[in-house]
Amino acid sequence: MSRRISKLVEEPAPQACPVPEIDLSLVAKTVAEHDPSSQLITIMQKLQGAYGYLPETVVDELSRQSGVAASRIYGIITFYAQFTTEPSGRYKISVCQGTACHVAGAPLIIDAFEDAIGVKCGCTSEDGLFSLEGVNCVGACALAPVVRVGEDETHGRMTPDAARDLVAELRTREVEA
């Protein structure tokens, strides 16, 4: 066994998918604070909040620590919109797709973002800067159409033009930072 490992180390050529370096100690800590039999989703929400996403390593560790089968955890991840196994971009742009936003032109806003960022809705740009997603009603209907950047920044009464400006502004923000 050890011989095989050392051999792999010597020959770096066939690389598996890169495994992100993640401090997994948080998983055990979170599991210890909750009851996995009744609070599995809460635990997963905490972990998603901390890591930003739930990669394979985290799911495996959660399965080990909680005794819940990884298949069941994946079942939950794929069912609920909140969970993702992919990291999101630095700026997560969420375009509200509630009814009020829809009738106020949300589809045009999504088109404009897709155009300005260069990715389809639901994807992350190659440079990792932007994620673009459509989200269910955020409940700020009076400001339709509404766009959120990250968790805290909300832009109301958007137009396609303002969407393109926002992308440009975020790019500048990134350069300045």
Binding site: I41, Q97, V135, G139, A142, R164
Partner: protein, 624 residues
């Protein structure tokens, strides 16, 4: 607060800390709305500006800056109220703060140009109570929204908070509470309208020592945000309702299942629960009566179907939120297989008022089998959007035109959509329909959770139907075939129609699918999914036919069926549109009419939005 003589009433009086009341009526205050919409419109900056400038001018001791829950008039946010006069400043910007401080706080006058403009008379309105949006409402559930600090339990107690709990605990008769709910005529406000008292009686009567209480705050209907505003503005009124319900049915443990997309609601509710525990309103010995109850918060992880009660229970239990067949109903076998009572936020928020004011006072409002008030979130193409509460029995016309102020200038009313993806729409000639569970159902629409979206002549009804169906199709949990596959096939047909690829017989195919899905789906998500399509077909069949037979979108919004052009007579050659066009599709000399090249145009609508002369137009010719 008034105090009774029982154990609970005395304990409640002891729990009250009058010195900690944040907002007192009659004091000098700047009240800033801290609801989600006002927050997004710039509330934090306005608050800081007031605080800084009051401090600079040495007025910080005299004038207090306080934050309240949602006032409801979200369209006009951020809203600032100068108390005690109740002077109402809408859409306040940081640059307005200095003027307000100087004119209103120091000189005692009003800044005329910052006041709300009456949508009909054009006159400026100085006081909140005179704003027509508020004037015509009957605020019962929302009575303290915007009037208390959601972080202060004492603000709530000073205004009679938790007296209803003390009353029922001192009277000690759970059956009497259930009788009261039945007499009041309160029905579930989440959509289905099941009589609340009856539901409680089922759970109370179900065999078993351990019973649970759930508050459904998984407000998923797009366009509905009343539950969020109640939780954000007055979380205690929901907790109090849950306490009374728990006492009535005999539950010791409760859950609030709230959308994770509502961070402010979660924060304020969490804080409210903590203060309740500190003050002895939750725990093992509530108000010294030995009654034990506590509430946990479960955050939903983003699944519309979890608004369905059996799916919600599955989600709390840590599983995929898929509904199951009923019966057994949760009242007999709910959370962890125990008898469980589920009501939504607004339903619980009615309870304390009924206990304090009596069933008759409640039943006095409304008509037929629909009693009390209902909150609607009025949105879309209406002048005064926001949260409104009206007595049951009010007409749709009253809501849209009197409270909502009618349509945006130059636009024509087309329909009002109620109940989101489970509901339907009402056209102009049904505007006299009253808000009543039965009367609305007869039209194909529903009261639903209270989302009320007004659309005008620029909204395509076929596209709106497609929008709702796309939503339900994406949110279908996939457990039963009619919903999983049926909605998919229906959506494909609708997408073809809006893309100009509709075929003869599509309408009939849609109708056949809709009927089957309605009849055979496992839960209400599937069972109601065809409603938006069926009602638009019922009232706007001509729009479907125009798309299919003439390849034309009468509203001019379906991208595949429209072209943009510039009206030479109206164009002044200001060059704005050509500067803004992302594909350089518009060309022309300064002060000369511009020309739009349809081959380059990506139909992003920017030119039409920026044009100040209405020169950019949309054309949807009959191509067949």
């Amino acid at each position: 607060m008034s105090v009774g003589t029982g154990t609970a009433a005395k304990a409640l009086a002891d729990a009250f800390r009058p010195e900690r009341v944040t907002i007192r009526d009659g004091e000098k205050e700047i009240r800033i709305c801290a609801g989600t919409a006002c927050h997004a419109s710039g509330r934090p900056a306005v608050r800081e500006a007031f605080k800084e400038q009051l401090a600079e001018k040495g007025l910080a001791d005299e004038w207090k800056v306080v934050e309240t829950g949602c006032h409801g008039f979200c369209e006009q946010g951020p809203i600032v109220l100068v108390m005690p006069e109740g002077i109402f400043y809408p859409r306040v910007k940081v640059k307005d703060v200095e003027k307000i401080i100087q004119t209103t706080l120091i000189e005692g006058g009003v800044v005329e140009k910052l006041l709300y403009k009456h949508p009909k008379t054009g006159e400026r309105v100085a006081h909140e109570k005179d704003v027509p949006f508020y004037e015509q409402q009957r605020r019962l559930v929302l009575r303290l929204n915007g009037k208390i600090d959601p972080y202060s339990i004492d603000d709530y107690m000073e205004r009679g908070g938790y007296e209803a709990v003390a009353k029922v605990l001192d009277e000690g008769d759970p059956d009497a509470v259930i009788d009261l709910m039945e007499e009041s005529g309160l029905r579930g406000r989440g959509g289905a309208g099941f009589p609340t008292g009856k539901k409680w009686r089922f759970t109370r009567g179900a065999p078993g020592d351990i019973k649970y209480l759930i508050c459904n705050a998984d407000e998923g209907d797009p366009g509905a945000f009343m539950d969020r505003s109640v939780l954000e503005g007055n979380p205690h009124v929901v907790i109090e309702g849950m306490l009374i319900a728990a006492f009535a049915i005999g539950a010791r443990e409760g859950y609030v299942y709230v959308r994770h997309e509502y961070p402010f609601a979660v924060q304020r509710l969490t804080h409210a629960l903590e203060t309740c525990r500190e003050r002895g309103l939750l725990g093992d010995d509530i108000l010294g009566t030995g009654f034990a109850f506590d509430i946990h918060i479960n955050e939903g992880a983003g699944a519309f179907v979890c608004g369905e009660e059996t799916a919600l229970i599955a989600s709390i239990e840590g599983r995929r939120g898929m509904p199951r067949k009923r019966p057994p109903f949760p009242a007999n076998s709910g959370l962890w297989g125990r008898p469980t009572n589920i009501n939504n936020v607004e339903t619980y928020a009615n309870v304390a008022w009924i206990v304090l004011n009596g069933a008759d006072a409640y039943a006095e409002m409304g008509m037929g089998e629909s009693r009390g008030t209902k909150i609607f979130s009025l949105t879309g193409k209406v002048q005064n959007g926001g949260l409104i509460e009206v007595p049951m029995g009010a007409t749709m016309r009253h809501v849209v035109f009197d409270i909502g102020g009618g349509m945006l200038p130059g636009r024509e009313f087309k329909a009002v959509q109620l109940g989101g993806p489970s509901g339907g729409c009402l056209p102009t000639d049904l505007l006299e329909t009253r808000i009543d569970y039965e009367e609305l159902q007869a039209t194909g629409a529903i009261v639903g959770s209270g989302g009320l979206v007004v659309v005008d002549d620029t909204t395509c009804m076929v596209d709106l139907a497609r929008y709702f169906l796309k939503f339900t199709q994406e949110e279908s949990c996939g457990k039963c075939v009619p919903c999983r596959v049926g909605t998919k096939r229906m959506l494909e047909i609708l997408e073809a129609i809006v893309a100009g690829e509709g075929k003869d017989g599509d309408i009939e195919r849609i109708e056949r699918l809709a009927t089957t899905i309605k009849k055979t789906s496992l839960c209400a998500l599937g069972g109601t999914a065809p409603n938006p399509v069926l009602t638009t077909l019922r009232y706007f069949r001509d729009e479907y036919e125009a798309h299919i037979n003439e390849k034309r979108c009468p509203a001019g919004t379906c991208q595949a069926l429209i072209t943009y052009y510039i009206d030479e007579g109206a164009c002044t050659g200001c060059t704005l549109c050509s500067k803004k066009c992302p594909t350089n599709a518009i060309t022309g000399e300064k002060k000369q009419p511009h020309v739009l090249d349809p081959l380059e145009c990506i139909k992003c609508d920017t030119c039409r939005q920026v044009c100040r002369f209405g020169a950019v137009k949309v054309h949807s010719p009959a191509t067949v």
